[in-house]
Amino acid sequence: MPAQALTWSHFAEKSAALAEAGRRLLYGFGPGAPAIAFLATTRRDGGPRLHPVCPALHEGGLYVFVIGHSPKREDLARDGRYALHAFPSAKDDESFYCTGPAFEVRDPEFRKRAEASFVHHVKSDEALFELRLASALHTTWNNPRTPETSPVYQRWHA
């Protein structure tokens, strides 16, 4: 587990342009809509699991609620390693991806404030995790879907 994983706001201090691209792509459905992304976790047998989730940027951190007794909650509680990928846009071939350790947040006052910042209705059995960042990647493409295509990467590592 990376020892130097950062909160979203500390990541943004280190790499402002990458964080801004991440925010824009996570909230790709526009104002008033929830952020939507794919969350990958590690199953008990070591294989990858993949789910769509609604994360949120709140009080300087990146958070996600997951259903209380869901397999992905068990994955995160057992092995906090995660990967998060903003929904890819079919139009502009641009993507944002980050990885790091996830930590369950049990502070009831913080949870109450976090619930209010999420667009979707949070149920009482959902568990709140903070997603710390150990790496982030923003990808755009030159000449997408042509023989001359080539990726343009903007990377950050803690």
Partner: protein, 154 residues
């Protein structure tokens, strides 16, 4: 098992998955990095000769993941923020397509579908050996869930 074998085992679920994957030609792929972290990548998916094929750039990190550990998860894209279109996913193992004739036929099939194909030898393509499948949809407040496993006795 191949896609066609899965479709014979659970035709209704396979029909849902085929429509969702074939309409966009893109899926999200989760693989395992060398350090054990999961990785997520958008990739091209193509139904070809009875199997679901996953195409990737030559020596891309996700392709190297699969060559090291073939376990993966495939998930359809989500284009509606309310999720009413439903999520389809597959668990399985990615098997590298190495036969040159098969790779040429794959390129021809991809070109026929999207008007573009990769050039030999600068690409990877894998056929998915399907172990499990699932579909989840929320519509008008109702949750619909369907699942299938290769080792189920049903």
């Amino acid at each position: 098992m191949t896609w066609d074998e899965f479709a014979r085992a659970d035709p209704a679920l396979a029909e849902l998955g085929f429509e969702r994957i074939d309409s966009s030609g893109l899926v999200m792929l989760a693989t395992l990095r060398k350090n054990g972290f999961p990785r997520i990548s958008p990739i091209e998916a193509l139904f070809f000769e009875g199997a679901l094929h996953l195409g990737m750039m030559w020596r891309s990190p996700k392709a190297l993941d699969l060559l090291r550990d073939p376990r993966c998860t495939v998930h359809t894209l989500v284009s509606k923020k309310d999720g009413t279109e439903g999520d389809f996913k597959l668990y399985g193992r990615a098997l590298a397509l190495c036969d040159l004739d098969a790779r040429r036929r794959y390129c021809d099939a991809l070109s026929a579908k999207i008007g573009w194909k990769p050039e030999e030898p600068e690409f990877h393509v894998f056929a998915l050996d399907i172990e499990a499948a699932g579909f989840a949809q929320t519509r008008a407040g109702k949750h619909i869930r369907k699942s299938w496993r290769a080792n189920d006795s049903r």
